[in-house]
């Protein structure tokens, strides 16, 4: 019988770390050509339409940025949480919370002076998502309830809160559908590049990358949250208030996801409805892991996914591949990246017996 074991290997030169993500992407595309072939598509045509659809023209490129914006935010949200080993699977629900808050401000806060609407909306959206995330964080630190399960379950709770609101107080008067009224003009994210949808939210996402990078590497809080994530006991031993660290991490994480929700309202849909998010909160998890929990990695991974997502629409039109190929690409890219990362530290040894 042949058995496999994993043994530590000597440290590899640091340039390898740059090549690994590229190799992972390449291998992913190789593997996902299989379902493309099964779907009867021409692999070359499929991939070229995908890349054209995402990057081939100015408009397409702008669209890719637009699509990347919420992914960057949810990716950062999850990465920031995971770094402290707060397993926030609840970015989707936190996104909903942010969207709800943004809708509330955007529709009903007509008494605010116009220049204050956007800042208030953004702040409220951040807080809504942040507060929603404190519930599972509190349950984890004080009552030792598993955060994977609670953050997840709360997604469904928030989804149904949204449903109750959309069939209730937030429902657009006169409509039979669960949708809110449209937000006021002052609540729209301004479009920044003519003849495209490149909007303020994209700038906010990039700013978020810088802010999170700053927190992680330059602040005491960033040091503490990393310590908590690596060794909770040692962090406690060192006098770190681990409960507060996790709570603060949750607020920032949930807040970022909330900002993603704000963006969907203020830039894309301009009103709230049940399917405000095509699973951004869950995709954020994959992006966070692909980016190895580092803000710049997250940005690149988000951009990669955005390319896939935007390009897949063109691919489905031109090459006839069902759009759900995106889920497959996402899953495969994650698994490939993980395995490659592992192989940078360990090698596989086959032994015969």
């Amino acid at each position: 019988m042949i058995s496999m074991s994993i043994v530590k290997r000597k440290a590899l030169p640091s340039w390898v770390m740059l090549v690994v993500p590229l190799a992972a992407v390449f291998v992913t595309l190789l593997i996902t050509s299989i379902p493309i072939l099964i779907a009867g598509g021409n692999v070359f045509k499929a991939y070229s339409s995908l890349f054209y659809g995402a990057l081939g023209s100015k408009f397409n490129l702008m669209e890719t940025f637009v699509k990347a914006s919420p992914l960057v935010l949810t990716g950062l949200a999850v990465a920031f949480a995971f770094r402290a080993r707060f397993w926030n699977i609840g970015a989707e629900g936190q996104l909903f919370a942010g969207a709800i808050a943004a809708t509330w401000v955007g529709v009903y806060f007509t008494w605010l002076p116009a220049f204050l609407v956007l800042p208030v909306m953004i702040l409220m959206g951040f807080l809504a998502g942040g507060l929603w995330a404190t519930i599972p964080a509190f349950l984890k630190t004080k009552l030792k309830v598993d955060d994977v399960v609670t953050t997840l379950l709360l997604n469904y709770v928030m989804l149904h809160i949204m449903g109750a609101l959309l069939f209730g107080p937030l429902q657009m008067p006169g409509s039979a559908w669960p949708r809110s009224a449209s937000i006021m003009d002052a609540a729209f994210y301004p479009v920044l590049i003519a003849r495209s949808r490149f909007h303020l939210g994209i700038i906010i996402s990039f700013a978020a990358i810088l802010v999170i990078w700053f927190i992680n590497s330059k602040t005491v809080f960033g040091y503490q949250s990393r310590g908590v994530g690596i060794n909770l006991e040692a962090a406690k031993f060192g006098g770190i208030n681990t409960g507060m660290v996790i709570l603060k991490t949750a607020i920032i994480s949930g807040g970022l996801a909330g900002l993603a929700g704000v963006g969907e309202i203020a830039a894309i849909h301009h009103h709230l409805m049940m399917d405000i998010s095509p699973g951004y909160g869950y995709t954020g998890i994959v992006i966070a892991m692909l980016g190895n929990l580092h803000p710049v990695g997250v940005a690149l991974a988000a951009f990669f996914f955005s390319i896939i997502s935007v390009g897949a629409q063109t691919m489905s039109r031109v090459a006839g591949i069902p759009i759900y190929i995106t889920g497959i690409i996402e899953g495969v890219s994650l698994m490939t990246m993980l395995i490659f990362l592992l192989l940078t530290e360990y090698k596989i040894r086959w032994t015969k017996s």
């Binding site: 994993i6 030792k144 994977v148 399960v149 109750a164 759900y324 889920g327 497959i328």
Partner: protein, 316 residues
């Protein structure tokens, strides 16, 4: 309204629905209990169930054979869980991350193959679903007759599995191995038990159950495939595993409670209780969270959960 709730028809219908709707959750919980008892947290349940639902449905759609659909769903679940084994057991990658990756991949794959096979028709295709298997004589007993003894055969099988899994874990040699690996894999390794192989087999067994649980939803409880057919039940199974303290019977009780809440909330709506429909939908999830809070203090987590097992490399 109180009169209506305590009427015979209401109670009978509620009990029947409870047993019916708890079936997929109990199946998935049993699968996850076996897996976690061996020390692996499988977050791929939700995606695996969706794949089982799609694969089972499509097989039945193509062949007209319901049990073949169940079989294909089980096989699909096994393959996905073997993939989880490669990532989390053999490569030793983070179990959280591997499981989530499997859920993403399996969900995408499920929807992809469904869309490939069926396209986007205005009316989704339906199949002839399972019909309840009426047990003669026993089903004539008032109230419990129609509710307990007029269920799908898959439900009867599920209930039969509960003692089977219990006996397996606590009364067989193989079960002792599984439990030992979950508590102290080093102890098992030193007496010659193949830790990784056992974990893989447990994952596979769990995967089969997840696949069947998914198929139950499209082949019995409903007769079509919708994207949100699983509706978070996979995650509920993880919660029920904790709630049941990793014991098959207690986990089944948890599944039963969730099924009850699900069924109850549907019936309350049809009675015209004047609360927003979505509040009802929330109730099962909230109660699950409360239940978790109450048990988390005394939970006896398998000590080896979440840690990949590698032979330690220490000098000296």
């Amino acid at each position: 309204m109180i009169n209506e709730i305590f009427s015979v028809t209401f109670i009978t219908g509620l009990l029947a629905a409870t047993l019916r709707m708890s079936t997929p959750i109990i199946l998935a919980t049993l699968g996850e209990i076996i897996t976690e008892r061996a020390g692996v947290l499988n977050l791929g349940i939700e995606g695996t169930m969706l794949f089982g639902a799609a694969a089972g449905f499509l097989t039945t759609l193509a062949t007209g054979n319901l049990w073949l659909g169940v079989l294909v769903a089980a096989l699909g679940g096994i393959v996905l869980s073997l993939l989880m084994a490669v990532l989390a057991v053999y490569f030793g990658l983070s179990q959280h991350v591997s499981g989530l990756g499997i859920t993403m991949f399996a969900s995408g794959l499920a929807m992809f193959i469904y869309r490939l096979a069926v396209g986007s028709p205005t009316v989704p295709p339906v199949i002839d679903p399972f019909t309840p298997m009426v047990i003669p004589l026993l089903s004539k007993i008032p109230i419990i007759g129609p509710s307990f003894f007029s269920q799908y055969s898959l439900t009867y099988i599920t209930w039969a599995l509960i003692p089977v899994v219990s006996i397996f874990l606590f009364r067989t040699r193989a079960g002792l191995r599984v439990r030992t690996i979950g508590q102290n894999p080093f102890a098992a390794d030193t007496v010659g038990v193949n830790v990784n192989l056992t974990r893989t087999l447990c994952l596979a067994a769990g995967g089969a159950l997840f696949g069947v649980a998914g198929a139950f939803l499209t082949l019995a409880q409903q007769n079509m495939f919708l994207i949100d057919v699983i509706g978070g039940r996979g995650w509920i199974a993880i919660a029920m595993t904790i709630f049941g303290n990793w014991n098959p019977l207690m986990g089944a009780v948890g599944g039963l409670i969730f099924g009850f809440l699900d069924a109850f909330q549907l019936r309350l709506q049809s009675l015209g209780v004047d609360l927003p429909f979505h509040i009802f939908l929330m109730i099962p999830y909230l109660i699950t969270i409360l239940a978790l809070i109450s048990v988390s203090r005394k939970a006896t987590v398998p000590a080896g959960l979440l840690k990949p097992y590698r032979r330690e490399e220490k000098g000296g």
